[in-house]
């Protein structure tokens, strides 16, 4: 079946099987490999993308379900010379180690900050609870988000 999806601001079409997931379409057909496959059943969040501004596990969504909608992947946020502010702060704070979860983490963070520019530490933890990371203990990720949302350590403690 034919699907047409706006991906990172650009309208794209493909002929996909009924069982093709959105992640499969992004990775296999369109070579947008920034979204990762870590578990294939929606547990790890490495495949997180935005659909009409909502964060979604793209491994759980069929490509057909995304038809006519707007998808944003990590590739849509920035490039080498023009980092998105979230990418810049993740880099600055070393909020990754092996990097496999980083794209999903950044996308989930964007979904949070778009709705809530000054989240409490608990709100940040809650927003990221669907994104697993085995390397960092989440500490430097949370730190980066507190920093970019303009909150001091004192805000964090009282939150």
């Amino acid at each position: 079946m034919d699907v047409t999806i706006t991906v990172n601001g650009k309208e794209m079409s493909a002929d996909v099987g009924a069982e093709t997931t959105l992640l499969g379409l992004l990775r296999e057909n369109w070579k947008l490999t920034g979204s990762k496959l870590g578990c294939d059943v929606g547990d790890c969040g490495a495949c997180t993308v935005l659909i009409d501004g909502q964060s979604v596990n793209s491994c759980l969504m069929l490509a057909a379900q995304a038809n006519g909608r707007e998808v944003v992947t990590i590739e849509g946020l920035g490039d080498y010379d023009h980092l998105h502010p979230l990418q810049a702060v993740f880099e600055q704070e070393s909020s990754f180690q092996c990097g496999f979860c980083a794209p999903g983490m950044i996308i989930s963070t964007k979904a949070l900050l778009d709705k809530n520019a000054t989240p409490t530490e608990y709100e940040i933890r809650e927003a990221l609870s669907g994104n697993l990371c085995r390397c960092t203990g989440y500490t430097k990720i949370i730190q980066a988000i507190m920093d970019i949302s303009g909150q001091s350590d004192d805000d964090r403690k009282s939150a």
Binding site: G38, D40, I74, D81, A88, S94, F100, G150
Partner: protein, 800 residues
């Protein structure tokens, strides 16, 4: 902490881009990028390089989603592989028929164990088949492989493979496996390796001790859970050479295994490792690589294989469950006079890294304490479960949980503060270890004092439901006696920059950043002036790999030595140019200069240009380093098994819900020794990540099996690892130290970070609710049951 991000600067473009109507930020980079400049990390350009919070060179691809992991790579005509796994935990294979599978749509090639030139491999004993050909020993054993045009076609074809089994009686419990009449997993006995350490006269000391404490502790099987599953691609170059792209963390030994199992000369086998998406010990051995190579040969096309999350659980290595019996003799004043430990390690179906895990576990099991009379007996046994192998800490988190829980029991019974009893018995500079090794750069007491002070140990408890617990540890750097060398090449370029060649693999820790800083420091240049090229067996020198917390210490030493040799060439070149002797020169701030006369200097670039193009003596150095060790006596275990050790303490604060048994870890204060912190940000990252793994070990993670040996929770839905909501607030303190045997005084930090976590959490639970959890994990159910038993044991109050 890293320097604060300039939030206003960052928010400006973000704010200007928000949609007026709903306040969201559009995410199309053509717009959002405008006016934004990536931060220039000044620190990357500064000298000296060591000690700087340098930004990682791989950070940009990571945050952009541009890092190429194996599954992100594709080659023209590439096929996909899936593995059929055993239906039985223990059975003879009578026959395997792949003929129907070969007729399935999209199938190009199949493979069984009989077709592999040398089917078995393993780091200690070659007891593990790549594909089982005569017998299966656990349910994760692969029995056949299929390569097809798509993953789904490969999966569909697996269902058509017919395997006839003759089931055998399995054994799952490690203590049962020790019994004479138990089913045998391999050969005549299930015990395949053991170790004894003896010092003093333990029986006499126990008989004479004022107090004797005894306790059994048990730990569970745990999975590494790297976010990137194991993955490889094999292809045959037109020259007939094999080229494998792999997520392996140890390529030098991976190549040896590939060459041996495929019966190929090493120079015809090339492994290129990518950035690895998490290792933690689980990616140290070949898994799919030889299978993919043979399928690629048969198909004449490149073949990719990626583990599913279930494969990751059922067929890759895991953490050894330990059964540990402790008997400790203590004097009235709290001095430990004797300790006897018996350890049984559940090795699962194959040896893998059991010998190392058991050995390290045995050596460390006494704890970082001066004890004159010691006896440790450890053995590893086969069972028909998922094999256990290398995992962050090699047995140390298991024994630390035991010796530190035991220590708190002793302190409590004798009415001594837990911190005080540790300080009383802790190693000091020059202490003799249980194997008779004289220890140097010992800071266990300092780590105890710093962690306790920063935590506020002496402050009165404010909240009744809360408890606090302390645990310290020691941990060695590198392999147990076994040779574990690394080699390195350092080249100085004619513009004053440098290129380092290393065979180690970046598995997420930031090792390449640290190694670059070491080379930069020796050459007097900045981190950004160095490029580290790694992980290609054709172009980079041998390296024992990203294992045993050894990269900074062992590979770092090799790089420092290689850089020194390159520098000597620069000095020899510069000396006549400056009219001085080479020994009067130093490399500093990108210059070769006369010591104490910095105005008499040449740029490193000019000197390298002269050396390279005029003198015909390029500034290039190569070197190798192997930690100095002395073999352990087989009867007594006496020897010098490691080059050096690190020390650490963690203090936890927990809150326990008495009604449900749920434990919340609120805070962990950690004080870790790593020698010189080459990059403090990366040290903090290791500690924070290690603690999250320790929290999982302590409270949540456990691989469960049914009575047939089938895993019950081989997925991230039912295997619970810590999420952002479970992670406590972590405070990291780096204990000041310098190890003269390390590069610029550095040791290592990767594994020890997850060693004391479970122990300090268990001690905090005891402090909160007065129950001693002796088997991990401390699930809510287990804690609730212990609380109930505590209440039932209390004398009933008389109703008024």
């Amino acid at each position: 902490m890293a320097p604060k991000v300039d939030v206003k600067e960052r928010e400006k473009p973000l704010e200007s881009l928000r949609h007026a109507d709903d306040g969201t930020v559009p995410a199309v980079f053509a717009d959002i990028g405008k006016g934004l400049r990536p931060l220039t990390p000044e620190v990357n350009k500064q000298t000296p390089a060591v000690g700087q919070r340098v930004t990682r060179p791989d950070s940009r691809p990571h945050v952009l989603g541009k890092t190429m992991y194996i599954d992100d790579m594709a080659f023209p005509g590439m096929l996909h592989t899936k593995i059929l796994r055993s239906e039985h935990a223990h059975a003879n294979i009578l026959s395997i028929d792949v003929s129907e599978a070969e007729k399935m749509p999209g199938v190009v090639a199949t493979l069984t164990g009989k077709e592999i030139p040398v089917v078995t491999f393993g780091p200690s004993y070659q007891d593990q088949p790549l594909l089982a050909d005569d017998k299966v020993r656990h349910m994760g054993d692969g029995v056949a492989a299929v390569a097809a045009e798509t993953e789904q076609q490969a999966l569909d074809a697996l269902a058509k493979i017919k395997v006839e089994y003759e089931p055998l009686e399995p054994v799952f419990d490690p203590l049962e496996a020790l019994e004479e009449g138990s089913p045998k997993v391999h050969g005549e006995t299930n015990v395949y390796t053991s170790k004894i350490i003896k010092k003093g006269d333990v029986d006499k000391a126990l008989a004479e001790a004022d107090h004797v404490f005894e306790r059994r502790f048990k730990t569970q099987m745990v999975e590494h859970v790297p976010m990137e599953p194991h993955a490889s691609i094999a292809l045959w170059e037109p020259t007939g050479d094999l080229h494998v792209y792999s997520s392996l963390g140890r390529i030098t030994l991976g190549r040896a295994d590939l060459a041996r199992t495929l019966d190929l000369p090493m120079n015809r086998v090339r492994i290129t490792a990518t950035i690895v998406g998490g290792n933690f010990g689980g990616k140290n051995e070949i898994t799919l690589e030889p299978i993919l190579a043979l399928l690629a040969k048969k198909a004449g096309r490149p073949v990719k294989g990626v583990f599913t999350r279930e494969d990751e659980f059922i067929s890759s290595t895991t953490r050894h469950p330990f059964v540990m019996d402790y008997t400790t003799g203590v004097a009235n004043d709290g001095t430990i006079v004797a300790r006897k430990v018996r350890i049984v390690c559940d090795g699962g179906a194959y040896c893998s890294w059991s010998e190392t895990t058991m050995g390290k576990g045995a050596i460390l099991s006494v704890g970082p304490y001066n004890i004159d009379n010691v006896k440790v007996e450890a053995s590893a046994v086969y069972t028909n479960k998922t094999m256990t192998g290398a995992m962050r800490g090699f047995g140390a988190p298991q024994v630390c949980f035991a010796y530190e829980s035991h220590m708190d029991d002793i302190a409590r019974e004798l009415g001594i503060d837990p911190l005080e009893i540790r300080l009383k018995n802790a190693f000091h500079e020059g202490s003799s270890s249980p194997t008779g090794q004289v220890l140097h750069s010992v800071v266990v007491k300092e780590s105890l004092e710093i962690a306790a002070d920063k935590f506020g140990w002496t402050e009165a408890k404010k909240n009744k439901k809360r408890g606090r617990g302390i645990a310290c540890m020691w941990y060695p750097i590198g392999f147990t006696v076994l040779a574990n060398a690394s080699a390195a090449v350092v080249k100085v370029n004619e513009d004053g920059t440098a290129t380092v060649l290393t065979g180690t693999v970046e598995t997420g820790q930031g090792s390449l950043t640290v190694l670059g800083q070491i080379a930069a420091e020796e050459l007097g240049i900045a981190a950004d002036d160095v490029k580290v090229v790694s992980a290609d067996t054709d172009t980079t020198p041998m390296d024992t790999g990203a294992i045993a917390s050894r990269t900074t210490y062992v590979t770092g030493n090799a790089i420092q030595m290689a850089a020194e040799k390159a520098k000597d060439i620069l000095f020899a070149t510069a000396a006549p140019m400056l009219g001085v002797r080479p020994e009067q020169l130093e490399a500093r701030d990108r210059k070769i200069q006369v010591k104490n006369y910095p105005q008499k200097a040449l740029s490193i670039g000019d000197v390298a240009q002269q050396a390279q193009f005029v003198d015909g003596q390029p500034a290039l150095g190569s070197a190798s380093f192997n930690p100095h060790t002395v073999a352990m006596d087989p009867e007594t275990g006496q020897g010098k098994p490691f080059g050096t050790y690190v020390y650490a303490t963690q203090v936890a604060e927990v809150e326990v819900d008495e009604d449900t048994g749920e434990v919340e870890v609120l805070r962990i204060v950690a004080a870790h020794d790593c020698g010189t912190p080459i990059n403090p940000t990366l040290v903090e990252g290791q500690v924070e990540g290690g603690i999250s793994m320790g929290v999982g070990l302590a409270l949540y993670e456990e691989m469960l099996f049914d009575d047939k040996g089938k895993q019950l929770n081989p997925n991230l839905t039912n295997y619970i690892m810590p999420t952002s909501l479970d992670m406590p607030e972590v405070e990291v303190h780096i204990v000041e130290n310098y190890d003269p045997t390390g590069p610029f005084g550095a040791k290592g930090v990767g594994e020890p970070t997850s060693v004391p976590t479970a122990a300090c959490i268990m001690n905090a639970i005891h402090d909160a609710v007065g129950v001693r959890i002796t088997s991990l994990p401390a699930t809510a159910e287990k804690v609730r049951k212990a609380i109930k038993e505590r209440d039932e044991a209390k004398p009933k109050q008389i109703a008024s």
